[in-house]
Symmetry: C3
Subunit: 319 residues, 3 copies
């Protein structure tokens, strides 16, 4: 494992898998401290003063890149944005050489998104112990900061995870978000975890992840306290993996009707950007129990917490 | 109107139309204060410390985006550049959702350029009163900061607007710049406003804007004190809206010969980038009465003034 | 010359040619001061506080642009990145007008990369004496900061240039790096300078540059103390200028075997990004005498030194 130091401290954030409850609680508590008590705005700090954060995106994502950029700046860091998908940076250079070069340029923290599952683990093996890596999404594997901000949001609105029945709805098979969410919910000892989706979009033997499997949305939503919608990647529809057009919405869309099966006041979560009328009814997305924009704000604070913690641990490690 | 608060303060800058003289004078005076008295350089301030300005450009424009970025940084703000035209940000997301997400990311000031006339008004309807919007050009509708920097430049060099005869030359029909200039000149009570251009490039019933219309450059320039050239968008030539090749220059180009018809020392203004030999003779663009580069510098100060004023008003509003 | 002021101070860094030994030593010494004495990390300073550095790249280069961006930020400057190759900035605007506009936007330092040899000299002729230009690579002409960081690296590891035999290996003909290196080595009075490459990739009458010419790598490397590899631009292979596929590597690749001909502990330098197995054996690139990543770090400090020196001289000049 390249995620934890010998004494169990978080060195890199590569995946939720293998973290202890204490690791997650430490991050969520730290994130809470970045809000002003009164206005709920995020404060400016100097935790990462004189540090440089490199946003290394091999897959384009303006939204996720922006949240990391804003989080880093709120910590007082310099930010270097490298949009590798558009650039000639690599010029055939290996991933390892690219990262080692940036390290030589005195970047201390790497936020990496890559289309290949496992790319961040690969880089973590290669890198100097004084620098740290955050996985901002690798292939279908993991998207740990998304799961952490989801947990932060659930804890803020619902407190005790053990009493919660949580449903994850949509394309679980291709979703790094779902995989990270399931691990996080287990670690925080959620009462029940359900996954809901068509057979073609659930991983083989998904039950082994400790979840209850539903192919029918009506059955799956019955009595749940938290609904975690996934974004439908409509390009998969074109490849025949998903029911065409309205069919998906009719079967798996969260609507006033299907929502009524869940517990009253069920919390609705979505990683964004939402597809109104594709996986979620527009009115539901704007309803008070849908905390989708709150998630975005929490995402800044949670990413600040992760960055601050990793840099803190890296500095101690190098003493 | 989403531009003024109930007590008449500027909340967003969407258009020049409907502003009072006091609003414009307040901005121009504030801009003047951002210059050092001696060297005429722009000072660094902390008016927007801990604020984040999002540059949201749905139409590419490195130049205008850069002036807003530089202005924001001179005020001590963080800047998030979002080049939506090149990115996959929206992924089919609505304009409203994009802006609400950025608001959730703790951006307080939005600088928006959009190809659709009215896009900024639409967003202003949707947005939290604690954030502010600046229209950096929407379709053929308005480009208010350009008009304000033009007014700043005219005032600096010529003082009293009531004594001035001002001519706007070129493609008035498609120009958001011209529309904003005409409104601003009226509000500042310019003595006379003329528009000069071929019939195909003047809006229907343009006289109703309170301007004198000329199709002949020689007649139109006679005795004017200020000449506001418009940039010729040469792609319109290809569509047959404009005389091909040299024909436009021969009829509407500002040259030593045509300039001689204006008042001696007539001030020459151009929003840039200039097309030398297309709408203006190269030597004229570099002559002492052409204050085109001075406009660029003034544009930074005027944008600082608008940003500072809007954030000031937003903070008061939220108390 | 637009590089030196009348009293011999560096105003712009356009090329190594024509610099005196004192100019180079001043930069290298200044760069040394930007490292912490103990950890060898680069310090944060405020030498360029309230200054704006414009990175004006007419040829895409994420890597070089990043090093200048990081160097500028380590000096406390604001950075404006303008990727002209992707943007519509110029819209047919002349290079001179683009730079004069940025100057009017209060940018004080221009880092320019351009595909045309001599572009930086051209701009330096046009520009206000209060601003400064750094050539970040123009056509096949010069890349002075690369040569300076190479000299810094050689001096750090080998001290006395007069005792050194230095070989430059590869496509000398198209290399602005090689040209700048040869000038710098002469100015610092290197004991011997050799160039090694196929006839098709050496400039006509290259001997006139005061170098010994070798077409055979084995002969050329005999007894050298420093090996400066050039990056092979593989697109030239496709145009028939270079031996196809493995042929180049077999003839001109730096391998364990060919390296054994050089002096023991010969220093290996490469401007990066390296093509493993194309111009250099992968194991050699990672060996202790290959100081390729050290060059990258030194490049930040050397660019800080050049920027700081130029701004210092510009401010004095304007008094």
């Amino acid at each position: 494992m390249h995620q934890l130091s010998k004494d169990g401290k978080l060195k890199n954030l590569l995946t939720i898998e293998g973290l202890k409850k204490e690791h997650i609680i430490e991050i969520l508590d730290k994130a809470e401290g970045f809000f002003t008590p009164d206005s709920g705005e995020i404060i400016q700090t100097n935790h990462l003063q004189n540090k440089t954060v490199a946003n290394l995106f091999f897959e384009p994502s303006t939204r996720t890149r922006s949240t990391f950029e804003l989080a880093a700046k709120k910590l007082g860091a310099s930010v270097l944005n490298l949009d590798i998908s558009h650039s000639s940076t690599s010029k055939g250079e290996s991933l390892r050489d690219t990262v080692r070069n940036l390290q030589a340029m005195q970047c201390q923290l790497f936020v990496i998104r890559h289309h290949t599952s496992g790319a961040c683990h690969f880089i973590a093996e290669q890198i100097d112990p004084k620098v740290a890596i955050i996985n901002a999404g690798d292939g279908c594997h993991a998207h740990p900061t998304q799961a952490l901000l989801d947990m932060f949001t659930i804890r803020k609105h619902r407190q005790d995870f053990q009493k919660l029945s949580v449903a994850i709805v949509g394309d679980i098979l291709h979703s790094r978000v779902a995989r990270s969410q399931i691990h996080a919910l287990h670690i925080l000892r959620a009462g029940e975890i359900r996954v809901i989706g068509p057979k073609t979009l659930l991983p083989a033997q998904v039950e082994k992840l400790g979840v209850h499997v539903f192919h029918d949305l009506h059955q799956g939503l019955k009595g749940v306290d938290v609904i975690m919608m996934l974004r439908l990647q409509t390009e998969r529809m074109q490849k025949g993996l998903l029911p065409q057009g309205n069919a998906y919405y009719r079967q798996y869309g969260l609507t006033t009707e299907t929502l009524s099966l869940a517990n009253p006041n069920a919390l609705i979560i979505h990683p964004g950007p939402i597809n109104r009328g594709v996986e979620i009814q527009s009115e539901i997305a704007d309803s008070p129990n849908a905390v989708i924009l709150d998630q975005v704000t929490n995402g800044i604070a949670v990413r600040m917490a992760v960055m601050s913690l990793l840099m803190n641990n890296a500095n101690k490690g190098s003493l």
